[in-house]
Amino acid sequence: MKKDNIQNLGFLVLFLCIVITLFFLGTIIFFVVVRGAKVISLSFLFEAPRRAMTEGGVAPAIIGTFYLTLGAIIFALPLGVACAIYLCEYSPKSFVVNIIRMSINNLAGVPSVVFGLFGLAVFVKFFNFGVSILSGSLTLGILVLPSIISASQEALLAVPRSIREASLSLGASSWQTIKKIVIPTALPGILTGVILSIGRIAGETAPIMFTAATFYIKKYPSSIFSEVMVLPYHIYALMTEGTHPDKQTAIAYGCALILLILVLFVSALAIVIRQRQRSYHHA
């Protein structure tokens, strides 16, 4: 009898763990949604801020987030996928390649603020791109490069050897095999990785603090060398700078909600694609 009591107690504790976890995370989402929804309106989404950030919308920050994310993906996607293709398809399985793989894995765990330092030293200062969309995009691009490489590698490795051999045996060259068989088969996996990266880039703040973001700018960005307002940094700035904390907090709730919807939607999309892919492989 005692044995079962311990079991019941143990199971109760585990049940509480998941309940507490979901409660905490649910609370965050609840507050952001309820309070954010109050300020979100069409003018909040499509207008520029007014009166020192206490009124108006956050359109420039939404646009800035879009530009930075787009720039980072344009930079990191070809580079990362090409790197993964080289590692999986062309390079011999040597010691050097293993070292490269390990360093890519490790770089995926480097704190994002460290990438910010790199971007500052290299893009802002050394290449003299200044605090700009370009510097920020490149920094964010490098930040997600390891995850794009590992996701692509995983997807490429999952392509069975047998169908590569079939393609080669029909007289296809290795490039034709990669282009027509390997990449199309690996595409859903690569896409999942890329979409997850988009979610991550859109929410990153630390790496763009000193490479791209500015608290307040009157004009919309005109070139890749412009500074930009960005949603996550805008939240930070609203909470730590300025003179009307109450009004600014309300706006910050709105920004947080937009960011949350964006990121959760994107990662839900990626997870749905992955789930489908899994069931396809098991079928």
């Binding site: 049940f15 976890t21 080289y86």
Partner: protein, 293 residues
Amino acid sequence: MRIKETIYKWIFTIFAFASLLFLVGIVVVLFKEGLPIFKHVKLVAFLFGKSWYPTYEPAEYGILPLIMGSVWVTVGAVLVSVPLGVGSALYLDELASYKQKAILKPIIEILASIPSIVFGFFGMVIVAPLIQRIFKLPVGLCALTASIILGVMAIPTICSLAEDALSYVPRSFREASFALGANRWQTLTKVVVPAAGSGVSTSIILGVSRIVGETMTVLMVSGGAAMIPVSFFQPVRPMTATIAAEMGEAAMGSAHYHALFAIGLILFLVTLVFNIIAELISRRFRIKLGLNR
């Protein structure tokens, strides 16, 4: 035809080495920009100096308060996230019905992507005032608040990775235990958890690594005082927050600038060690369970 093949191969080689160049570049830049601080201050004095006054005259660059800030916040966050994360993973793996798991696992994975700035913001507007009221503190922004927020933030990561590890334990292990008359709890604690142990520890280490490197949350809720904390109710200034808060003001090439890069270098090395340990353990885990990948 052959020429085309060779060209493609070269294009990929160049791309691959370009990405490597960037990644290696990070290490090079951190060393190049970080090491010059040791012209101003000795390594021991830098690591163990008790005062961080980078803008005073004369400036002092002792990062012990920052290190201790990171340590306190990390320990606090681990106390929150590990029990809840692993406990939730055990629930998902062992108790949840197939349907529950099919819903909860993706939800937890999706929650793992909530940006840290949202956590920081929530900590600032909701949790900090609450902590201030409950414990009657002068300010709510302190190590405790940072620990709670960071801990909650790391739960989805730890839970999701730990659940993966648990799900790799072959069903035959469980069946063998049931066949010997063990109940589910005994099977869980004596067979499943030990078998998945190294996989679960990998998830914990990766979670801790994420906590150590987290910036925006601690920048917003830890209070920002660069002193060695003696209790969880004091404000602290972890290393990441220091870099984020001060880099904007540090003049390029100044001692302060180099000091911040040196802190970045230390952060880099610490997370590198965590990741290498995690990789080694998970490799052993895969061998132990006969998973070849």
